[in-house]
């Protein structure tokens, strides 16, 4: 096993509230990513998937504080000084956001947006930078890159702008890409193209990728392993190609049953009762227990530890009993 590219251990994020208290948003996240690996982070609102990404890039809100450890190629991210942090962000990690329009200055041309970091931070000549930008635009499948460099963000479509965003990330030649719902705002046909580009570039360049999404099936298609998050914790971590058959955590099972199928109408979707909660709203035990049809009194009081099960990591105290019961029902 090679040294991990990114390693989170016991990552916890608390945010101070106005009345002087604090609220936990992430509660002891452990995660390890090998160089060149793609990992999916899947969850609903409040699950902490975006907060994890913000912690990794140290883009937390002002009132939030992180503890635990984040290591990138062995370096302690939480302890970096301003200079180290700048180098880490420019060349270490690259970020792709959900809404490129909100993250690209609308008053400047695409060429200026793409070359700014190269020219200002790395001292690349303007002409050289533009040439590199054009080459990367071609790489993300944009025709006529020279013309695009002279256009403003409002002149191109959302799908095109997301490719520009990806191109800007590639220009910094990062070892890790963090993609936060990069296709949620796009149409499905465009989503497919953008995801295919991300996937191809990742493989060609050997970059690691953390792919954050609410769409479990999309994550399974893009990533080798998938972590399902609930209330600030990872509840199940499993290889993508076996998740559909082997999913063991009641929440993962619930998510799979909630999603209507495109192939057939279900008589009734097996919806999970209640609503998703954040870490600070949950009790001392398993955060999912109030919505779980398998929960016992013990689940509400004692937090479950992550355990190896059926080739994956599952955070459920009753995982074996539940699995046995399901197998029995199936037989």
């Amino acid at each position: 096993m090679t040294a991990p590219l990114l390693e989170l251990s016991g990552l916890t994020v608390d945010v101070a509230t106005e009345d002087g208290g604090s609220r936990t948003l992430l509660d002891g996240v452990d995660l390890s990513l090998a160089p060149g690996e793609a990992l999916g982070l899947v969850g609903e609102s409040g699950s902490g998937k975006s907060m994890t990404m913000r912690a990794v890039t140290r883009l937390l809100p002002r009132a939030a504080s992180a503890s635990g450890s984040i290591r990138f190629e062995g370096a302690d991210v939480l302890g970096m000084n301003a200079g180290e942090l700048r180098r880490y962000r420019d060349g270490g990690v690259g970020l792709v956001f959900q809404d490129p329009r909100a993250h690209i200055n609308p008053t400047r041309r695409i060429g200026a947006f793409l070359t700014e970091a190269l020219v200002r931070n790395r001292g690349v000549g303007r002409r050289e930078a533009l040439a590199r930008a054009a080459a990367v635009l071609a790489e993300v499948g944009i025709d006529d890159p020279q013309r695009r460099l002279g256009q403003y963000p409002h002149e191109v479509s959302g799908g095109m702008l997301q490719r520009v965003m990806i191109a800007s990330v590639l220009l910094a030649e990062p070892r890790l890409i963090l993609a936060d719902e990069p296709t949620t705002a796009l149409d499905v046909t465009i989503q497919r193209e953008v995801v295919a580009i991300l996937d191809r570039l990742r493989r060609e360049r050997g970059m690691g990728m953390v792919f954050i999404t609410h769409d479990l099936d999309l994550a399974l298609a893009v990533c080798g392993r998938v972590a399902v998050m609930y209330a600030g914790r990872i509840v199940e971590l499993r290889s993508a190609d076996t998740l559909h058959e082997r999913a063991a955590h009641p929440y993962t099972l619930g998510l799979l049953g909630s999603r209507p199928s495109i192939d057939a109408r279900a008589e009734r979707l097996s919806a999970i009762p209640g609503r998703p909660v954040s870490a600070f709203e949950s009790g001392p035990g398993c955060a999912f227990a109030p919505r779980c049809s398998f929960a016992t009194a013990g689940c509400e009081s004692e937090p479950p530890a992550p355990t190896e099960f059926d080739g994956g990591l599952v955070r459920c105290a009753r995982v074996e009993e539940i699995h046995a019961a399901r197998m029995e029902a199936k037989a």
Binding site: V188, R192, A221, L255, R259, D263, R265
Partner: protein, 270 residues
């Protein structure tokens, strides 16, 4: 759960019997130079359920807005319950009648409720407006699965799914014959989306209301609709029974749409 039956007032009785719930013929809409909707025809049978599927810019939301009278068609006709509504309503009486024929639930649960009104107040206001019995408010609140406490809370204290239930209750308070669901479950978390889809199926089974579901999500359409219409750049690509169109599409665009949806075994390389 108790179904809330339509309490038709006197003027509702002249509705034409045995006709389609919604019929659109040669529907067109221009926004200056942009031709947003081009010669669209469709029917929603009484008690039926039609899904209109399309990507952004397909004109699906414009169609919904024309049906409820928030936009005026540039050409073509719309009939709801056998009555023409291609022109703006004249007078409060006609506005009220149209409201009791067709209602809508919008996509964004955060802006589609009056921030200063509780679920209960919103539903009662609508009941009062249509001259219906105020005691129906309790039944409606129960029907959409809101608790007593939630029904008295302001929208800001409710989750997205709960707010969408309020919006559904408010629409049903007019006891419409047709309900337009404009991306009504798209902004919800997966586990909440399933709850609301089940709720909508229950309501249809109990009341015989017709649905017109506007969505970009083929799986949601399949779950809730009998027929489907695929729209692209304002034009109808194909329409027909859900099973037929989705399992055996006649058009390349429909096939591309279907294949772009991530499903088990789906890979990124097209």
């Amino acid at each position: 759960m108790k179904a809330v039956e339509g309490a038709g007032s006197v003027e509702d009785t002249d509705a034409v019997e045995g006709c389609d719930a919604v019929a659109a013929r040669g529907l067109n809409k221009h926004f200056k130079a942009h031709h947003a909707v081009v010669d669209v025809d469709f029917d929603v049978p009484a008690g039926g359920s039609l899904g209109i599927v399309g990507e952004s810019g397909s004109g699906k939301t414009t169609i919904a807005r024309m049906l409820v009278g928030l936009e005026r068609p540039s050409g073509g006709t719309i009939t709801v319950m056998g009555r023409d509504r291609s022109r703006p309503a004249r007078g409060a009486r006609e506005r009220g009648r149209r409201a009791r024929e067709l209602q809508i639930v919008f996509q964004d649960p955060y802006t589609s409720l009056d921030p200063s009104q509780s679920a209960r107040a919103a539903v009662e206001e609508v009941l009062r407006h249509h001259g219906r019995d105020l005691s129906l408010a309790q039944d409606l609140v129960d029907q959409v699965g809101l608790t007593e406490r939630q029904s008295h809370a302001r929208p800001r204290d409710l989750s997205g799914g709960q707010r969408q239930r309020v919006a559904i209750a408010r629409a049903l308070a007019a006891s419409p014959k047709v309900l337009i669901l404009d991306e009504a479950v798209s902004a919800l978390d997966v586990s909440i989306q399933a709850q609301v889809l089940n709720l909508l199926a229950d309501i249809r089974a109990e009341t015989g209301i017709a649905y017109l579901l506007i969505s970009h999500d083929l799986a949601v359409v399949r779950q809730l609709c009998d027929t489907v219409l695929v729209l692209r750049r304002g034009r109808v690509v194909e329409q027909g029974e859900c099973d037929r169109v989705l399992d055996d599409p006649a058009e390349d665009y429909t096939r591309a749409l279907r294949e772009a949806v991530p499903v088990p075994g789906w890979t990124v390389n097209a």
